[in-house]
C-alpha cells in the first residue's frame, strides 16, 4: 500500500461533482496509478443511475440505483466527501475550498457539476407542489406530493417530460402534459411521428396539450392550482412538475473567470479543457462546439478523453451521435441522426400504419446512397440496422424503403459481418465491434464474458441483441460450438437421442447405452432416456427395465421433500372437484396426518407421506376415483381455468369444459420439462393463460391459442400462435405443438426457452404446425394419438402390482420406519422437525428393544 511519502509524490486530481459522468471519470482515472483522486460532491449521495430514475417508482430503491458505494471508492483508493459544496477556486494557487472551509490543492481540477432542471419564470409558479424531476430527492418529493394529489401536470413534452408523466401516471394521478411546441419530443421526432406519438400517449390515458404557453399559475377552484395559458384556456391541477429542459451548473466557472458560452455552459476544447489549462469540464456542464450534450454517452466519452489527456495520451472529443431508442410508457420510440431531414438535399421515405400505430421514416442523402437519419414510432425493430447504416456510412440497398416496409418479401438485412471493426455497437460505453472481437481474442467464450469484459450492453441495454449477434457471429466464425452432449456417457443432444430411439426402435436404456453410449450412465442420461422412452413408447415407467432410470420422484410417484418424505398430489382436472371428492381428500389427509395446502395450480397438495404410506394413501385415493396428478413428472401438470360462460357473466365460451378435456387428453405425456396450460373464458384472462406453456383464450369467434409462456424464474409472455380456432383445430394444433416440443426440446428446456432457441422462432413454428412445412404433422398426430391411447394411471398400476409395492418397504429386512423422519406442529399442522428439534429416537428405540 502507498505510504504518505508516496502519496505526496502523486499528482492530485480533484473532481467536483459525483453524477454519472463524474463517477465514470473516477472509475477510468483510478485505473492509472500515480494519481491521488479526491471527489467533492455537494449531494448527500454518491453517484447513482439517473437513466433509470423512473424505475424508483416501480420499486427500485436508492441502493438499487447506486453506481458506487463508499466501500468501492475505498477499494479504489479514492478520497471522497459528500455534502461538500465547492465555493472557491484559486486558479493561481491551484486550490479549491468547500463551503465548510476545507481546502483541497489540485494539480488537475475536473468540473463535473452537471446540470439543473430549468424552471421557466412563470408568475405564481414557485409554490409548494411545484416540483422538478432530476434527483432521488426530487422523486421522494413527487411521491409525497402525489399522495395528497389527484391531478398532475407535467410542463414540457420532451423525452424527460414524458418519463415524468409516466411516473405520475404510475403514482395514480390523472396526468396531463403541457408542451409549448406544437408536438411532443420536438427535438428527436418529426411532425408525423409526433402526431402518432401523441395519439398513443393519449390512448394510455395521459392528456396532451400542445402549443400551450403558461402565463400564470393561480389558486384553483376544484384543485390546488390553475394554469392559465396564453390562448385563454385553463387547466386545474394539484401538482406541477417542470421538465422544460436543463441548464448547465456553470456558476463556479462564472465566478472564477473561466470562459462561458453565451447561453451558459463551460466552454471546452477537444481535450475537454476549459480556458484554464489545468481545469477540465465534462458532462452536462460543458459546452463543446456551442453544444451541450444532455445524454450520458457523450459525457462518458468526455470523461475518457480527459483521463487520457491527463495521462499524456492523445485523445479528442469530436462530438457525439445523439441517436436514441427508448420505450416511453410502453411506446417504442427511436430517433437517429438527422431526424428532421435538415441536411441539404435530403430525401425521405415514410411508412405509416395508423391501425397498428406504427410510423417509420428514413432520411437519406440526395443521391440515395447514405442513411442520414430516421424516426421510428411504435416499432423500433429496425433501429440497430438503420443506426449502423448511418454511423458507418454503409451504402444503402437499391430500394432503401425496403428497410422500413413490412412484408417486403426479402427485406435487406444488414449482417453483422458487413459492419466494419470500427462500428460502434454500444454507444453508452463506446464499445466497437473491434473491441468485442478483441475480448474474444483475449479469451471470452460466452456472450456473458464479452459483456463483462467490454461493459457492452451494461448502460442503457438497448444494444444487447446486437452485442449478442456480433459475439455469436464471431464465435461461429471461430468454430466455437456450444457442446450439446448431454453427459459423459452420451455424445448426443436430447433431440439426437430421441431420433436414435425412434428410428432404431430402441426400447431400453441398456440397448441405447450399448449401441450409442459408454460407462454405466448417470443421473442425467438415465432420466433423460427414461423420458424419451416414455415419450416414444409410453410404457409404464416403472416397468422393470425402466425402473432404474427414473429419478426418485418418478420411482416413488411423488415429489421428495427435504426430509425424504413425499408429497401426494391427485389430479383435479381444471380445478373442478365435487364436494364428495374434496371430503375424501380431507379424510385421507386427516387419517395419515398429512400437511395440506392448496397449490397455485388449483389442486391440493398433501405433504409428509413416508415411503411406506404412499401405497396406502393412493389405495384410498384411487378407490375414491382419483388419479395421479403427475406433480412429480416432467409432464403435463395442470390446466388452470376460470369457470367460463357456464357461470360467469362475461364468459364467452365454456373454458372449464375445454380445460378438463385438454387436461385429460394430455395427462401422462412425458416431455423435456413440465408443461402447464391455462384456459380463459374471455379476454379478462382470469386463468392467466398467457403465462403458460399453452394458453387458450376464448373469443367471440372461437379460441385464441398462445404458446411458450412462462411464469416462475424467468417469466415470459406467451406468443399468440393462432386466432379464432374451432375446438377441433385447436386440439389438433396443440397435439402437434406439444409433440414437436417433445421431439426437439432439450433436456429440462421449458417451451419458452425452446421457442426462443428454435431457429426461425414463432414464424417457423407456425409454418411447421399450421402449414406443415416439414411434412411431419401426420406423424406428430399419430404419435400423440398413440400416447393418449395408452394412458394409464401410474398409481393405479402400481398399487395393483405386488412386485412394484416391494419398493415402498422402508427396509428390505425390517418393518420399522425411518426414525430420522420427525414432525412438529405449526399452525395446527405438521412440518418437518429441524435438526435441533429432533429427538434422538434411534437410541430410545434401541433401549426399548433391549429391555
Amino acid at each position: 500500500m502507498s505510504t504518505d511519502k508516496q502519496l505526496l509524490n502523486k499528482s492530485k486530481i480533484v473532481v467536483v461533482g459525483n453524477g454519472m459522468v463524474g463517477h465514470h471519470f473516477v472509475e477510468e482515472m483510478s485505473k492509472h496509478e500515480d494519481y491521488e483522486i479526491t471527489v467533492l460532491s455537494a449531494e448527500s449521495r454518491l453517484a447513482y443511475d439517473r437513466v433509470y430514475l423512473s424505475s424508483y417508482f416501480a420499486g427500485k430503491t436508492a441502493e438499487d440505483l447506486a453506481l458506487t458505494t463508499p466501500e468501492h471508492y475505498d477499494e479504489l483508493g479514492v478520497i471522497f466527501k459528500t455534502n461538500a459544496k465547492v465555493t472557491n477556486i484559486d486558479k493561481l494557487a491551484k486550490v479549491v475550498t468547500t463551503e465548510s472551509g476545507e481546502a483541497y490543492p489540485y494539480d488537475k481540477l475536473i468540473l463535473a457539476t452537471g446540470s439543473y432542471p430549468f424552471v421557466p419564470p412563470i408568475p405564481g409558479g414557485d409554490v409548494e407542489h411545484s416540483l422538478v424531476y432530476r434527483t432521488i430527492d426530487d422523486l421522494e418529493a413527487i411521491q409525497a406530493s402525489a399522495n395528497v394529489s389527484k391531478v398532475g401536470v407535467v410542463i414540457g413534452g420532451g423525452l424527460l417530460g414524458l418519463e415524468a408523466a409516466k411516473a405520475l401516471k404510475e403514482l395514480g394521478l390523472e396526468t396531463h402534459v403541457v408542451e409549448f411546441a406544437p408536438q411532443l419530443m420536438a427535438v428527436q421526432v418529426d411532425g408525423g411521428g409526433g402526431r402518432l406519438l401523441r395519439k398513443k400517449i393519449e390512448e394510455l390515458g395521459v392528456q396532451v396539450h400542445t402549443s400551450k404557453a403558461t402565463n400564470v399559475i393561480v389558486a384553483g377552484d376544484k384543485h390546488r392550482y390553475k394554469l392559465s395559458f396564453s390562448d385563454d384556456t385553463e387547466l386545474e391541477t394539484d401538482l406541477i412538475l417542470f421538465s422544460a429542459g436543463i441548464r448547465p451548473y456553470d456558476n463556479l466557472a462564472r465566478e472564477f473567470d473561466l470562459e462561458i458560452g453565451a447561453r451558459g455552459g463551460i466552454v471546452i476544447n477537444n481535450q475537454c479543457k476549459t480556458s484554464d489549462a489545468d481545469i477540465y469540464a465534462i458532462g452536462e456542464c460543458a459546452l463543446w462546439n456551442n453544444f451541450i450534450y444532455g445524454l450520458v454517452a457523450p459525457g462518458y466519452n468526455m470523461a475518457k478523453v480527459a483521463v487520457k489527456d491527463i495521462c499524456g495520451d492523445e485523445a479528442e472529443f469530436t462530438g457525439a451521435d445523439m441517436s436514441t431508442k427508448l420505450k416511453l410508457m410502453g411506446v417504442e420510440v427511436g430517433s437517429i441522426g438527422d431526424a428532421h431531414a435538415k441536411t441539404e438535399g435530403a430525401l425521405t421515405y415514410t411508412y405509416e400504419n395508423q391501425p397498428e400505430g406504427v410510423y417509420k421514416k428514413i432520411v437519406v442523402s440526395a443521391d440515395k446512397t447514405k442513411m442520414l437519419g430516421a424516426v421510428l414510432i411504435g416499432d423500433t425493430a429496425e433501429y440497430d440496422t438503420l443506426l449502423q447504416y448511418m454511423l458507418n456510412e454503409i451504402d444503402l440497398p437499391e430500394a432503401p424503403e425496403g428497410l422500413i416496409l413490412p412484408m417486403a418479401g426479402d427485406k435487406p438485412t444488414l449482417g453483422v459481418d458487413s459492419l466494419p471493426d470500427s462500428a460502434s455497437i454500444c454507444s453508452c460505453h463506446n464499445v466497437t465491434k473491434g473491441d468485442i472481437i478483441a475480448s474474444i481474442d483475449a479469451g471470452a467464450t460466452t456472450v456473458a464474458d464479452v459483456k463483462s469484459c467490454t461493459k457492452a450492453g451494461s448502460g442503457c441495454g438497448g444494444c444487447a441483441a446486437l452485442v449478442k449477434s456480433v459475439a455469436d457471429n464471431e464465435f461461429e466464425k471461430r468454430g466455437v460450438e456450444v457442446k450439446k452432449d448431454i453427459c459423459e456417457h452420451f455424445a448426443y443432444s436430447r433431440r439426437e437421442i430421441y431420433d436414435l430411439v425412434s428410428v432404431e426402435k430402441i426400447k431400453t436404456f441398456d440397448e441405447l447405452l450399448s449401441k450409442h453410449g459408454k460407462g454405466l450412465g448417470c443421473e442425467i442420461c438415465k432420466p433423460l432416456a427414461g423420458s424419451v422412452l416414455a415419450s416414444v413408447w409410453n410404457d409404464y415407467i416403472l416397468k422393470k427395465p425402466h425402473l432404474s432410470l427414473q429419478d426418485t420422484n418418478d420411482t416413488y410417484l411423488g415429489n421428495m421433500q427435504k426430509d425424504g418424505t413425499y408429497s401426494v398430489v391427485p389430479r383435479i382436472a381444471g380445478g373442478e372437484i365435487t364436494p364428495d371428492k374434496l371430503i375424501v381428500l380431507g379424510q385421507v389427509a386427516k387419517k395419515f396426518n398429512l400437511y395440506t395446502k392448496i397449490t397455485g395450480g388449483a389442486r391440493v397438495d398433501l405433504f409428509g407421506a413416508r415411503v411406506e404410506q404412499l401405497p396406502l394413501i393412493w389405495r384410498e385415493l384411487v378407490d375414491a376415483g382419483f388419479e395421479t396428478g403427475h406433480a412429480y413428472g416432467k409432464s403435463l401438470r395442470t390446466v388452470k381455468s376460470c369457470v367460463g360462460s357456464t357461470w360467469c357473466r362475461y364468459g364467452v365460451k365454456d373454458s372449464i369444459g375445454m380445460a378438463i378435456e385438454l387436461e385429460n387428453r394430455y395427462k401422462g405425456l412425458r416431455a423435456p420439462h413440465k408443461i402447464k396450460f391455462g384456459v380463459s373464458g374471455c379476454t379478462r384472462e382470469c386463468a392467466e393463460a398467457q403465462g403458460k406453456d399453452i394458453g387458450i383464450i376464448a373469443t367471440d369467434n372461437g379460441w385464441n391459442l398462445y404458446v411458450a409462456g412462462n411464469g416462475g424464474m424467468k417469466p415470459r409472455h406467451a406468443d399468440l400462435f393462432a386466432t379464432d380456432l374451432d375446438d377441433e383445430t385447436l386440439v389438433k394444433y396443440i397435439d402437434r405443438v406439444l409433440m414437436f416440443y417433445v421431439q426437439t426440446g432439450d433436456r429440462l428446456q421449458r417451451t419458452s426457452t425452446w421457442l426462443e432457441n428454435l431457429e426461425g422462432g414463432l414464424e417457423y413454428l407456425q409454418d411447421v404446425i399450421i402449414k406443415d412445412s416439414l411434412g411431419i404433422n401426420d406423424v406428430l398426430e399419430t404419435q400423440m394419438a398413440a400416447i393418449i391411447g395408452t394412458y394409464q394411471c401410474e398409481w393405479k398400476t402400481t398399487i395393483e402390482d405386488p412386485e412394484a409395492l416391494k419398493r415402498f418397504k422402508p427396509f428390505v429386512n425390517s418393518d420399522k420406519s425411518d426414525s430420522n423422519i420427525q414432525f412438529v406442529t405449526e399452525r395446527d399442522q405438521i412440518r418437518p422437525a429441524r435438526e435441533e428439534e429432533k429427538i434422538a429416537v434411534t437410541i430410545i428405540d434401541a433401549a426399548v428393544e433391549t429391555v
Binding site: 448417470c522 432404474s548 429419478d551 425390517s814 425411518d818 428405540d845 434401541a846
Partner: protein, 118 residues
C-alpha cells in the same frame, strides 16, 4: 457376550430382493442394539457388482441415498443424492463435490444370500 468390535458376515436378504441398477435400504442391528441404515446397490455391469454404503446423506441430512440414481463418473461407480444431486463414490464413500463422505460396508453375495460384514 459380543462387543461392538466383533464383526460378522450377516445375511441381510436374498439376492432376488436386489433391484438391478438400483438401490434398496436395510437396517443393521447388532447385539448391543445399535442401529445403522445402509443402502445396497446392485450394478451387474460394474466390476464389484454389489455395494453397501451408509444411507444417510450428510449434505441433505436425510436417510435417502438408496433412492438415488447410480452410474459412473470417470469410471468411478457413484450414487447421486436424490436431494441435491451430489455424487458419492460407492467404493470409498467420498463425495465428489464436497468435503463429505459416507461409510462403506463390505458386502458379498453367498449362496444367493446378500451378506454385510458389521
Amino acid at each position: 457376550m459380543n462387543t461392538i468390535t466383533d464383526k460378522l458376515w450377516r445375511t441381510i436378504c436374498g439376492s432376488t430382493d436386489l433391484v438391478t441398477d438400483s438401490g434398496i435400504s436395510a437396517l443393521l442391528t447388532n447385539e448391543t442394539g445399535d442401529e445403522a441404515q445402509i443402502a445396497i446397490f446392485y450394478i451387474p455391469n460394474s466390476a464389484e457388482k454389489i455395494f453397501a454404503v451408509g444411507n444417510y446423506d450428510p449434505i441433505g441430512k436425510a436417510n435417502v441415498l438408496y433412492r438415488g440414481l447410480v452410474g459412473c463418473i470417470n469410471d468411478e461407480p457413484v450414487v447421486a443424492s436424490p436431494l441435491y444431486k451430489q455424487h458419492f463414490s460407492l467404493k470409498t464413500g467420498q463425495c465428489l463435490q464436497e468435503e463429505q463422505s459416507i461409510s462403506v460396508y463390505p458386502i458379498r453375495i453367498e449362496n444367493d444370500q446378500v451378506q454385510v460384514l458389521y
